[in-house]
């Protein structure tokens, strides 16, 4: 039977098992929306701005193992979506973004709502396609899902001109696909893994450092097994939190610019480093020259060969799916029988415990003003550590990462690579849509939240019972902190003047708003909010304006050159 392009797109989504599409209609996608209207397998979530559609679909993917799907119209629909696409690209999130385009005959004529989607998105996608013939449509969508979800995942854009959605052809969805130009490596090289095992077993001051790859590669169980087997210390990047249980004693906390003293010191002073699904970026190891002042052997496991030896030269590169590689590591370590040297490991741990004793995350618990760290600690207690936490970008993000102990993967949803303010609320929407029964909280700040505040309307439409934890210090906190430390206390444009009354704002959108001004009220307020199972509650915590995030590795400095509280 002949189907129209629009029917084919919807059928492809159904074939891929997609249950939610986040989007916003417009002229170029009217036929697609018409087909969505006629069925109920694929549920469409109407956002209030295309950026939020992409963020929500992105979080949908992050919190599940599925591919997130967004649908936007041509021109401004696409340009609004760019921030979302770039955010997903930087964090390697599997997504397919369907974009409307002006009819093929109008392309290049500066038509109404035309933009060069393939050109504009090219630097921030894993791949993109412009469909010029309806007969290519199904195969292209199949390729898009395949590319997005395999190898190092990433967003894929499929640009579909309006006339293609009306043209008809026979529909058949390919069951499987092979592409001669795209063959992601899966299995790690056995010889390299053997070398890695030898290094690990000979280590005297070992360290395991893991990133988002462990989460995306569903390798947490294998990582936990490996750490337990070896008895080595383990740290996670911001993107890797939850990849290893934060409450386990082998966990040294997050590392990097705002990592713990013990994690950064152990990273700097270890003699063998096992890096898994992480990329040694500037926020993680600081200045690479300083990092190399201490000699160490590095094993780097990553699915993307281009991530290996990019910023830091490694000794044993292992390209492969982290889960398969970790399994093979475990198998070979078991077979090797002899474990790491117990005495050396013991003295290394006693050094680490000494660093840990520095209590680098301490803050004034007796403060009469609400300390932001205190709010996160209470949030952790009230949710029993079992909530999905999304965050925006800035100080609150770092405090959430430091003080909420994630024991499970895919529970911590934030923008690590691009650092996109405004993601928190749409992320929470995507997470709640994917996990309707779960408790979902968004840790945000009064600056970030205003970047996508319009989505409170979407939350009302879909009855999303999110809890927004607004750490309101009346400043773009991280900007303020840098200005205090590095710009002589000149707080240039970082004060958030003319803030709205967030309680009234929440109420105006049909939600519940609560303002909390005293430390003693923090816990009761959180309890009350989380007891409201059906309501979105906007908790506006008036926090200490001068609080800073510690420890801090200043930009360009080495990992062990931390500013401590």
């Amino acid at each position: 039977m002949q189907l129209s392009g629009a029917e084919i797109v919807v059928r492809c989504l159904q074939e891929e098992g997609i249950d939610h599409v986040f989007g916003y209609p417009g002229g170029a996608v009217l036929f697609l929306y018409d087909e969505l209207f006629k069925q109920d397998k694929v549920k469409h979530v109407l956002v209030r701005h295309e950026q939020a559609a992409v963020h929500a679909a992105d979080a949908y993917a992050r919190s599940t193992e599925k591919v997130g799907v967004a649908l936007v119209t041509s021109g401004p629909g696409v340009t609004n979506a760019i921030t979302g696409i770039a955010t997903a690209y930087m964090d390697s999130i599997p997504m397919v973004i369907l974009t409307g385009q002006v009819p093929t005959h109008a392309i290049g004529e500066d038509a109404f709502q035309e933009c060069d989607t393939v050109g504009i998105t090219r630097p921030c996608v894993k791949h993109n396609f412009l469909v010029k013939d309806v007969r290519d449509l199904a195969l292209t969508i199949k390729k898009a899902f395949y590319i997005a979800s395999t190898g190092r995942p990433g967003p894929v854009v499929v640009d579909i001109p309006k006339d293609i959605t009306t043209h008809k052809t026979e529909f058949e969805y390919p069951k499987s696909i092979t592409m001669r130009s795209y063959n992601p490596v899966v299995k790690g090289h056995a010889g390299q893994i053997k070398r890695a095992v030898k290094l690990l077993l000979e280590a005297k001051r070992p360290m395991i450092y893991t990133g988002g790859g462990v989460i995306l590669g569903n390798a947490s169980a294998e990582l936990a097994q490996l750490v337990k087997m070896l008895g080595f210390p383990c740290t996670n990047t911001l993107m890797g939190l939850g990849g290893f249980p934060s409450t386990d004693r082998h966990f040294l906390g997050m590392l990097g610019m705002h990592g713990t003293y013990e994690a950064n010191m152990a990273m700097q002073h270890c003699d063998v480093l096992l890096a898994v699904g992480a990329r040694f970026d500037d926020r993680v190891i600081g200045n690479p020259k300083h990092f190399f002042e201490q000699p160490r052997q590095i094993v780097h496991v990553d699915i993307d060969p281009a991530s290996i030896s990019k910023r830091v030269k490694v000794d044993v590169p292992v390209v492969g799916n982290v889960r398969d590689v970790l399994k093979e590591l475990i198998r070979q370590i078991e077979a090797a029988r002899g474990g790491p040297d117990k005495e050396s490991l013991k003295s290394w741990w006693s050094q680490i415990e000494q660093w840990r004793g520095r209590d680098c995350l301490k803050y004034d618990r007796a403060s009469a003003i609400i300390k932001p760290q205190f709010v996160i600690e209470k949030l952790y207690q009230v949710t029993k550590g079992d909530a999905f936490i999304t965050s925006d970008v800035g100080q609150h993000q770092m405090w959430a990462a430091q003080f909420y102990k994630f024991d499970k993967p895919r529970r911590w949803i934030n923008s690590g690579g691009l650092g996109t303010m405004g993601v928190g609320l749409p992320y929470a929407m995507g997470v709640q849509m994917a996990n309707p029964k779960a408790t979902v909280a968004c840790v945000t700040g009064e600056a970030s939240i205003q970047m996508c505040i319009q989505e409170l309307s979407t939350c009302k439409q879909y009855r999303l019972p999110l809890k927004l934890v607004n750490l309101n210090n009346r400043y773009m906190g991280m900007v303020r902190q840098w200005q205090e430390f590095f710009h002589g206390n000149r707080y240039s444009e970082s004060y958030m003047d003319a803030l709205p009354d967030f309680v009234k704002l929440a109420e105006a959108y049909g939600h519940v708003g609560m303002r909390v001004e005293k430390p003693a009220d923090v816990e009761p307020a959180l309890k009350e909010a989380f007891a409201r199972k059906k309501d979105l509650v906007f908790l506006d915590f008036i926090t200490d304006q001068t609080e800073n995030v510690f420890p801090m590795v200043p930009g360009g400095k080495g990992l062990s050159e931390m500013i401590l509280v």
Binding site: G119, H127, R180, S181, P305, A306, K310, K313
Partner: protein
């Protein structure tokens, strides 16, 4: 160090811009870049001349391989290879220069492919250095216009780049 890299890629719209975009986005040098379809019309072959430290070249190779349209990448500089570039030069050829220009073209095994009463157009093929040498050997004021294709390269003997 200078490297000459051969890339086989899907002959699809936008493939060239993916490669060019990669180089500009990551700040890699491009000395020259040539591309044309191969005997298999679904494939294009590109020759890129670039330069950089070993680390940069390693990254360039990896990043090229990562592009979904790229089928194969070979760094020709890693082994024996042949490089050729085509240049067309329009030379002023009046009076005694007319003989001189003809002679220079012959010495460099160039061919005069267009003639007017005032100028010659010379076609010259060879490694880039030979083309440079020719331009240096000619009276600079006689050079009216040049156009070069950039280098194409191929491995020697049984070094074959094919799908």
């Amino acid at each position: 160090m200078r490297h000459i890299i051969s890339v086989l890629l899907e002959n699809e719209a936008g493939a060239l811009s993916r490669v060019a975009g990669l180089f500009s986005a990551r700040g890699y040098n491009i000395e020259s870049l040539t591309v044309a379809p191969t005997e298999d019309e679904t494939l294009s072959r590109m020759t890129i001349v670039t330069s950089g430290s070993d680390d940069i070249i390693e990254q360039i190779n990896k990043q090229l391989n990562k592009l979904v349209d790229v089928v194969k990448v070979v760094d020709l500089s890693e082994g024996d290879h042949i490089e050729r570039e085509l240049m067309l030069v329009k030379l002023r050829a009046i009076g005694k220069d007319r003989e001189e220009m003809k002679r220079m073209a012959d010495i460099f095994r160039g061919r005069i492919i267009d003639v007017t009463d005032k100028d010659y157009t010379v076609e010259l093929t060879g490694p880039g250095s030979k083309l440079d040498a020719f331009l240096k050997a000619i009276d600079q004021s006689a050079i009216l216009e040049t156009v070069r294709t950039g280098a194409s390269g191929i491995g020697r003997g049984d070094r074959i780049l094919k799908v």
